[in-house]
């Protein structure tokens, strides 16, 4: 059998090069799932959107009526438990079994009658905020018929704007 064997090395190299190209193509196609430290911003963004949507829902009066929104009532009556129930139900709702693991801490920031800005705790979730969490902040304006902090004189009431600020993180 007279056969030329000159091209064997070239054939091997050709196959090797093709394999390398296939592997690199595979890596490139898969590279969107590469997770780096910087990608945590994507989670932050999603958490922030979720939180601000949840607060907007709480701050909408039932059936879009002119009545008070749940958030308005909660802030006026300082109803920590109701806020916890409504807010946790909203943000930890998932389509699958079980819920999400998002925790929060909510504060109310107000301007007192002397014009100073102060903050009062409104509500928090079962896991307390200790400071090491990677939290995002969302806020929602509310008009309440109450002067913060409590003031008994009649002229202290009337409508005031306060800012409900919530820190959100995932356990």
């Amino acid at each position: 059998m007279v056969m030329s064997e000159n091209g064997q090395l070239y054939t091997i190299e050709g196959i090797a090069a093709a394999l390398i190209l296939l592997v690199t193509a595979f890596i490139v196609v898969n590279s969107t799932s590469v997770y780096t430290q910087g990608d945590t911003h994507i989670n932050d963004m999603q958490l922030e959107l979720l939180g601000s949507d949840a607060l907007s829902m709480l701050n909408t009066a039932p059936n879009s009526s002119f009545g008070k929104s749940p958030l308005q009532t909660i802030v006026e009556t300082d109803d920590s438990a109701l806020f916890r129930t409504l807010f946790l139900n909203t943000i930890n709702n998932t389509t699958g079994p079980g819920g999400d693991r998002i925790q929060y801490k909510a504060n109310v920031t107000y301007v007192d009658k002397d014009g100073f800005v102060s903050t009062l705790p409104l509500s928090d979730s079962p896991h307390p905020f200790v400071g090491g969490e990677h939290a995002v902040r969302v806020s929602q304006w509310v008009i309440v018929e109450k002067r913060f902090p409590d003031c008994s004189a009649g002229s202290c009431s009337g409508k005031h704007a306060v800012l409900v600020e919530v820190l959100l993180w995932r356990d």
Binding site: V34, S52, V138, G158, H160
Partner: protein
């Protein structure tokens, strides 16, 4: 170049091609991790929710009235400016023009600036 064997030129060329393609692929992979980060950063940095909230409150406050001892409108509008400055690092100012005989609309000039993003709007009632 007499006497120089040039059999292996094709192999050398293939070596170059493969190494260059690997180099470009490395650049592509390197960039792909940055894409999601920069997009998310841009979204986080733009104070969309702050602007929405502030705008919504200013428009609501325009239709409050000072009733007797309750300076509802004055208080709420001062609260908006003070809290924006203290909690959202933004300067907010606004002024309104009431309907006149020939023009039945209310106009509100809204200005927002947080040092990076500026937002200006002339709102007109329906």
């Amino acid at each position: 170049m007499a006497g120089l064997r040039d059999d292996a030129q094709w192999i050398v060329l293939m070596g170059f091609i493969v190494s260059f393609s690997l180099f470009f692929v490395a650049i592509v992979i390197n960039q792909s991790t940055v894409v999601g980060q920069t997009t998310a950063e841009a979204v986080i940095e733009f104070p969309k929710n702050d602007i929405r909230g502030m705008r919504d409150m200013i428009i609501q406050s325009e239709f409050l009235t000072d009733e007797g001892v309750f300076n509802n409108k004055t208080n709420v509008q001062n609260d908006i400016k003070t809290l924006s400055l203290h909690r959202q690092n933004s300067v907010v100012s606004f002024s309104s023009r009431n309907p006149t005989g020939s023009d039945p609309h209310t106009y509100i000039e809204i200005h927002y600036y947080n040092g990076v993003t500026a937002y200006n709007e002339t709102w007109r009632s329906n």
